[in-house]
């Protein structure tokens, strides 16, 4: 039996998914996700322990090509879409914090 989702669970997955949520959103999503997960419980009745999982409709294998030079996306065109650029690189906020 899969457990019901709690508000703490929702706050945890929101953090994992890098989504800042308001208190109101937390309440709302807890109710709504519980309802969807409740519907998904109909699967629990199935005896499928021995059934292999399917991740993809058709068997996939690696697709290789010759390692030949070919044109790639234009760098300036790509960088033009970025929120912040410096010296032909994507500029991002600080990753490491100061030592405490």
């Amino acid at each position: 039996m899969a457990p019901t989702i709690s508000k703490q669970d929702v706050a945890h997955v929101a953090r994992l998914a890098r989504l800042a949520l308001s208190e109101e959103e937390l309440e709302l999503y807890t109710t709504q996700l519980a309802s969807v997960l409740g519907h998904a419980r109909d699967i629990e009745a199935l005896d499928i322990a021995d059934v292999p999982p399917t991740a993809h409709p058709f068997p996939l294998s690696n697709v290789l090509r010759e390692d030949e030079p070919r044109p790639c996306l234009d760098r300036d065109e790509v960088l033009a879409a970025a929120p912040e650029v410096e010296s032909a690189r994507f500029r991002i906020p600080r990753i490491l914090s100061e030592a405490p």
Binding site: V13, L37, I48, P93
Partner: protein, 498 residues
């Protein structure tokens, strides 16, 4: 013409003149020089001008680029060249197909104004066939939804009744074709996002076999389920468009290798002696409206009257399709949408460090349905719950493929409703996500199995609005599937309310 509320006389679904022509008629006229692509385009643009404010099928109308392109097509014809199978045919592109230098937003704030640096393969193929892109069609944000109400640019309205939804997520594409804004449109279908809006807007919509059409340049939702396909006002037009966009593409490693036969050339054979199975579990699925159910019964009888062998068939695991889908698709989405991080493109909201920047960017950029699905998927994949939810859902996927294989050992195609109801009022299901998800109950199984399916209009419901009937086929069964769809189209009642 349709007898639906706005289908007769003046209304966005009442077509006339060049906007009522089929894609085949337009292409034939333009290629022979009897029609000019410019004249065809201007009439479609005039219709957009007249009705778009009420319908809101588009996030962007690319009138100037379309005029330039139409002039090129006409010049090519004048120079004795053949511009291609879709010469001068106006098409709408769902706004998740990358168009180089033209905004591609997925109806999301997080991609507002983003101009891709490359074209999707299907966009290149449409252009190479002489089609004229008229605009980028509205959709549920990142293709998550069944009503086109989850759009950052506002909802699309159903051309048959402006107070109702067009379905979704490709609602703008379906509405554009129903309203005569374009003769064809492209959409994408992850759990029914082509077929359900086609049904609700009274047009034809095809979800091809997984891998038949390249996904290169399709903004990803759930990669093992997504497939691009056409909308049209007839089966023959849909087949023509499918022939143009299908084929192996080395840029999509999941695209099927080898040559695939033309589907358009297989039409016109009728359904005589074909074995058609009516899926029992879907005919009585949760929330199935009696008028929709009756339309499927009528369709089955009409096929039998043309010589098809029609019987009921059981595909037991389709009952679990919805539950499996709403674990698998959000799981894949939570992974695919991790790329919207405010670093390389799209929206950025500032933060003191990078995690804060990610969190505020994604909170500001995504709408409520996308956040819901990302969290659902993250939860289904998270430690401790993986086996209970995602793992089980993948096993259900196996069961479904087995059940379909068994059914197709006795039948050439299967038949079901497309959507449990006709178009519902705007706002009716936005507060209850589960109620919205139930709209997809009949369309999801084909995505989980990777099989093709088509929705075609078959009369009207009690409310006078279009009803869609779905024909399903095994992998690469498009020729026989469209053959049966065309036979149904020939005997379909013309929009009289039940």
């Amino acid at each position: 013409m349709s007898g639906s509320p706005s289908g007769s006389g003046e209304g966005p679904a009442a077509l006339s003149g060049l906007t009522s022509l089929s894609a085949r008629a337009i292409a034939a006229g333009v290629r022979s020089g009897e029609l000019s692509a410019a004249a065809v385009l201007e009439e479609h643009l005039a219709r957009v001008e007249r009705w778009e404010q009420q319908v809101h099928a588009f996030n962007l109308v690319t009138a100037d680029a379309a005029r330039a392109r139409a002039a090129q097509v006409d010049a090519a014809v004048a120079a004795g060249e053949d511009p291609g199978l879709l010469a001068g045919v106006p098409v709408a592109l769902k706004d998740l197909l990358c168009t180089r230098g033209v905004p591609t937003t997925c109806s999301s704030r997080i991609l507002a104004g983003w101009c891709p640096p490359y074209d999707a393969t299907v966009v290149k193929k449409m252009a190479a066939a002489g089609a004229i892109v008229i605009g980028k069609a509205n959709m549920d944000e990142f293709a998550m939804g069944s009503s086109t109400e989850h759009s950052a640019t506002g909802p699309t309205h159903n051309p048959h009744d402006l107070s109702r939804v067009p379905g979704g997520s490709s609602g703008g594409s379906a509405a554009a074709v129903a309203a005569g804004f374009s003769a064809l449109a492209l959409g994408s279908d992850t759990g029914g996002s082509i077929r359900q809006p086609a049904a609700l807007c009274g047009v034809v919509g095809v979800k091809p076999t997984y891998g038949l059409v390249s996904r290169y340049g399709l903004v990803a939702f759930a990669s093992s389920l997504d497939q691009i396909g056409p909308f049209a006002r007839s089966v023959a037009d849909a087949a023509l468009a499918l022939d143009v966009i299908s084929g192996h593409d080395e840029r999509d490693s999941t695209s099927l290798p080898g040559e695939h036969p033309s589907v358009a050339s297989r039409l016109g054979r009728g359904a005589e002696d074909l074995r058609v199975g009516v899926i029992a579990e879907l005919a009585s699925a949760e929330g199935m409206a009696p008028d929709v159910s009756a339309a499927v019964t009528d369709a089955a009888e009409a096929l039998a009257a043309t010589g098809a062998k029609v019987e009921e068939v059981s595909v037991p695991s389709v009952r679990y399709g919805l539950s499996a889908y709403y674990m698998i698709a959000p799981a894949e989405a939570s992974s695919n949408l991790a790329r919207y991080d405010g670093v390389r493109y799209g929206l950025r909201r500032d933060g003191n460090d990078i995690t804060e920047m990610y969190m505020s960017t994604r909170a500001a950029g995504f709408g409520p349905e996308v956040k819901r699905r990302i969290m659902l998927g993250t939860y289904a994949l998270s430690a401790g719950y993986y086996d209970a939810y995602y793992g089980k859902a993948q096993k259900v996927r196996t069961l479904m493929i087995r059940d379909f294989d068994l059914a197709y050992s006795s039948f050439d195609v299967l038949l079901s409703p497309t959507s449990p109801t006709t178009a519902f009022p705007l706002g009716a299901k936005t507060a209850d996500p589960l109620a919205m998800y139930l709209s997809d109950v009949c369309t999801i199984p084909s995505n989980l199995a990777g099989h093709p399916a088509v929705s075609i209009p078959f009369g009207a419901g009690e409310d006078g609005l279009p009803v869609g009937v779905q024909v399903l086929a095994p992998a690469l069964g498009e020729p026989v599937m469209l053959q049966v769809a065309e036979a149904l189209e020939a005997v379909a009642p013309r929009g009289e309310a039940r």
